[in-house]
Subunit: 210 residues, 2 copies
DNA sequence: TATAAAAGGTGACTTTTGTTACCAAATACC
DNA sequence: GGTATTTGGTAACAAAAGTCACCTTTTATA
C-alpha cells in the first residue's frame, strides 16, 4: 500500500503521516458498478482514491437520480468527510465508475490527524474547497445549459475519467444520470452524431471532439 | 461587540476565543442591497453574521444570475472560508438581503485559530458541512422542481429571512434570482395568487401558506 | 431454436418555459 | 401638472423538453 500512497499522496503528506495512513488504512479494491455509499448511510470511514473513478449522485423523493460529478485519483470525498465529522447521514450516493482502488481511513484517525498534522488539515480543507467548486460547476451545468450541452459535457467527462474516448453506456443510463428521458437522450445523441461530435454504436459512444 | 458575540456564538466558542474574536474582529453594519463580495474578488477577511441575512448568487459567462441560498445569523460563509484558506478568487456574489451586522475576522487569525482552538476547527468544518447541504438543496430545487414550485419556495425562503410574510420585491428581481424571464414569473405568480398561496400588490407579495 | 428482454429509432403530441410585443397603471421627477 | 420610467398584465408565438406509442434490431436465455 505504501507505494500507492507515496505515488498519489506523497507530495501532500509528510513521511510520518504517510506511515500512519499505511498502518491504520485498509486497502480496498472495488469493482465497476459497486455501490460504495447509499443515501442515508452513516459513514464510519473515509476513502482516499488511489486509482479509478467514483460517480457521485443525488436523488429526489421519487427516486429520480442526477449525477453531480466524478471523483478521481488523489481525491477524497468531501461529502463523506462532512458526514464523518458531523456524524450525519450521507446525502449522496457513490458508485464506482470504473474498477477502483481505495484506502479507507477510520473516522477517529482522521479527526485526530486534524489536530496533529498541518498537512492533513490543509488536505481536508482543500478537499472541501474542491468539492464545493465541483458542486458549483454542477449547478452551472444544470441551471445555465440546455440538455444538448449538458449531454456533451457528460460524455466528455465520462470519457476523461475512463481514459477512453469510447464510452460503454446505454441511452437509458445516460438519461438517468442527467435526469431526463431515454427518448430525449436518443434524440439529442443523434443530433450530436450528425454534427460529428460523436459516433454511435449499440452500447457504445465514441466522443470525437475532445 | 462582545454582547453580540456572546449572544450568537457564545454557545459555540470558549471564553478565550470569544475574547480573541472581540479584540481582532471588526464590526460592520451593512445596508440592504450592499454588495459584499463580487465574483473574482480575493477575500482577505471572513464574516461572522450577527444579524440580518445575505443572499448568495452564482453567475454564468453571460451575466445571468441564479440564487443559491440565504445565510442568516450564526452562520458564516463557507465559500469565503474556502477562498481565504485556498487563496483563490470568490466563485460567488454576496449581497445583503437585509440590513446586516457582521464581525469580520482577518484571514491570518482564522488560520491560526484552526490549530489553536478545537471549537473553532469544529465551527469551520460544520460551516463547510452546512454550506455543502445548502448547495445540494439548491441543486435539488433547480434539477427536480418545476418553476412554479421553485418560485414558491423562493418566496417562502425570502419571507423567512426577512421575518415578514410580505416581501418587497418586483417580478423583475425574482426572475433574475431564479434565472428566468419576467413574463414567466408574472404568469406563475398569478397562478399562485389564484390558488390562494400568495396575494399580489405592486412591489409586494404576501405569502399566505407558510 | 424459440422466446423474451434490452436497446434504441422515430413520429406525433403535450407541457413547460422562453420570447416578443404591446398595453395600462403607478410612481418618480422635472 | 406633465413627462418619463418602472411595474406588471397579457396575447401570441417559438423552442425545449417530456410523454406515449409502436416499431426494429440485437442480445440473452430457456
Amino acid at each position: 500500500m505504501l507505494e500507492a500512497l507515496e505515488a498519489n499522496y506523497g507530495y501532500l503528506f509528510e513521511e510520518e503521516l504517510l506511515q500512519e495512513i499505511n498502518s491504520v488504512g485498509t486497502c480496498k479494491d472495488i469493482p465497476e458498478g459497486y455501490k460504495l455509499i447509499e443515501i442515508g448511510d452513516y459513514i464510519r470511514s473515509m476513502p482516499l482514491l488511489v486509482s479509478g473513478a467514483i460517480k457521485i449522485l443525488r436523488e429526489d423523493e421519487n427516486g429520480d437520480e442526477l449525477i453531480l460529478y466524478f471523483i478521481e485519483r488523489g481525491d477524497t470525498c468531501a461529502m463523506t468527510l462532512s458526514c464523518c465529522l458531523g456524524q450525519s447521514k450521507s446525502e449522496i450516493r457513490a458508485v464506482a465508475e470504473t474498477d477502483t482502488k481505495l484506502i479507507m481511513i477510520p473516522v477517529q484517525k482522521m479527526e485526530e490527524w486534524l489536530g496533529k498534522y498541518k498537512s492533513w488539515q490543509k488536505f481536508i480543507l482543500q478537499s472541501y474547497h474542491d468539492r464545493m467548486s465541483e458542486l458549483l460547476n454542477a449547478i452551472d451545468t444544470i441551471a445555465f445549459l440546455k440538455m444538448d450541452e449538458r449531454l456533451f459535457i457528460y460524455l466528455k467527462d465520462k470519457a476523461m475519467v475512463n481514459h477512453n474516448d469510447v464510452i460503454h453506456v446505454t441511452h437509458q443510463e445516460i438519461s438517468q444520470d442527467l435526469h431526463t428521458s431515454r427518448v430525449v437522450i436518443s434524440r439529442l445523441l443523434k443530433k450530436l452524431a450528425i454534427n460529428g461530435k460523436i459516433e454511435l454504436q449499440r452500447n457504445n459512444i465514441k466522443v470525437i471532439d475532445l
